[in-house]
């Protein structure tokens, strides 16, 4: 009992780390991807609106034009098409890269990879034993087949726990360290750039265009019939509604940004507080039990597989069937 207590305590400790909510990390990754798409579509819309705005200004003037008058528009297209230079885009990319690195870290040191390393170790020990018996011309094993399988299994299992422990600790440190930056980026993207700059400009640019149609209406109103006026006003009203709904696109992008900061904030708070619910500990312990059973099965596999142990994408670690590629 004395010797099993520290092991049990270590398992509890590990379970605390192992209950790092990987599901939330996944949710964060999905949310970050969503932000990227939404911001891309907002930037596209903003670029198109800028070009249209130049054409609106030209159309509202009485000037006559030549080809070179269109050059400034071409410059806008070139300038704005380089989205990568936007701080908005850079911040979005930094979020995306971070999200990917977090997902990669969450899957580091996979059980499959460590199991295969354990299998190879077991095989090497067995070969060494065979060579030893040849050398000494004896039938006495230095490492029995059973023990080499067991050693392979133990090394793989311990390594898996070690990798899991390191992974959980690293995830905790990384997420807590990143959270202040994530919150600032989310706030600036959402409130200053999307809401403060893009929404205001889109609304004003649509207003510039609408004013041109209202001006046309006012100029012709004395000569128009009722039905002509009604038709013209219907068109103007549709444009007015489009201008008023500009914020809907921005709100969608803002929501996407806020879902990222919220998911990350919750993740960081959970890890910072170190408060793991009983349910989570139970789930983590269940995971550990499943992992242990998995490694027992691996030892059994090492003992009985007469061909080769391989990793299969769908089936996991399996014994290769004789006479087949898989």
């Amino acid at each position: 009992m004395k010797s099993t207590m520290p092991v049990f305590m270590m398992l509890i400790g590990l379970s605390g780390c192992a209950s790092t909510p990987l599901g939330n990390i996944e949710a964060f990754g999905v949310a970050a991807e969503n932000v990227s798409d939404k911001i891309d579509s907002v930037i596209d819309e903003y670029n198109k609106a800028n070009v249209s705005d130049r054409l609106v200004m030209m159309a509202q003037s009485n000037r006559k034009y030549v080809k070179s008058d269109l050059d400034p528009i071409r410059k806008i297209v070139i300038r704005d098409s380089d989205k990568k230079s936007f701080a908005l885009y850079k911040a979005n990319k930094a979020l995306g890269d971070y999200s990917k690195s977090l997902t990669d870290l969450a899957s580091a040191g996979s059980q499959k990879e460590l199991s295969l390393a354990g299998v190879k170790l077991s095989r090497s020990l067995s070969e060494m034993n065979d060579q030893y018996k040849v050398l000494t011309e004896s039938e006495v094993d230095i490492v029995s087949s059973e023990n080499s399988n067991k050693l392979g299994r133990i090394v793989a299992e311990v390594s898996s726990f070690y990798a899991g422990y390191k992974r959980s600790r690293a995830l905790k440190e990384v997420i807590i360290a990143a959270d202040p930056s994530i919150q600032i980026i989310g706030d600036v993207l959402s409130n200053q750039l999307l809401k403060g700059v893009i929404e205001g400009r889109l609304y004003t640019m649509k207003g510039n265009e609408l004013a041109g149609y209202i001006s046309d209406y006012n100029a012709k109103v004395q000569t128009m019939s009722f039905s002509q006026r009604k038709k013209a006003l219907d068109d103007i009203y549709a444009m007015y509604m489009a201008m008023e709904s500009v914020s809907a696109t921005i709100v969608q992008a803002q929501k996407a940004v806020l879902s990222v900061t919220k998911a990350h904030g919750e993740l960081a708070a959970e890890l910072r507080s170190n408060r793991f619910s009983g349910k989570k500990i139970a789930a983590a312990l269940k995971d550990i039990k499943t992992v242990h059973k998995g490694f027992n099965d691996l030892e059994e596999l090492m003992r009985n597989c007469e061909t080769e142990i391989v990793a299969d994408d769908e089936k996991g670690i399996i014994c290769k069937a004789s006479g087949s590629d898989n």
């Binding site: 908005l88 990798a163 200053q192 004003t204 004013a211």
Partner: protein
């Protein structure tokens, strides 16, 4: 950001005025509107391009944390590599033992 907001407000106000005017008055107000619109467009572009200092700092810090996450992953991945190294060493030892056994058999 406040400057851009003021510019947009002024442009919107002029857009509510010029459609009612004619002749020179209309042209004058439109010219003023276009000038403010140019300024607003430039300012918006500059802000989107350069961002704000707090954003630049936060992005830089996030990049550093991202690198830490990549380093941590690489460190954890070394675990499997270490086991493979042990396996490789034992394999080499087994091979050496076999060669010695072969030599002894000849002698």
């Amino acid at each position: 950001m406040a400057e851009l907001s003021e510019l947009n407000k002024a442009i919107n106000a002029l857009n509510d005025l010029w459609p009612l005017l004619e002749g020179e008055d209309r042209e004058k107000i439109l010219k003023e509107r276009d000038s403010l619109n140019e300024q607003a467009s430039e300012l918006a572009h500059k802000t989107l391009l350069e961002g704000v200092p707090e954003l630049t700092d936060a992005v830089e810090q996030l990049k550093q944390v991202t690198q830490s996450a990549k380093d941590a992953r690489s460190f954890i991945d070394q675990t499997a590599i270490r086991i493979n190294k042990i396996e490789d060493t034992i394999g080499k030892a087994a091979l050496a033992v076999g060669k010695v056994a072969g030599l002894l058999a000849v002698l």
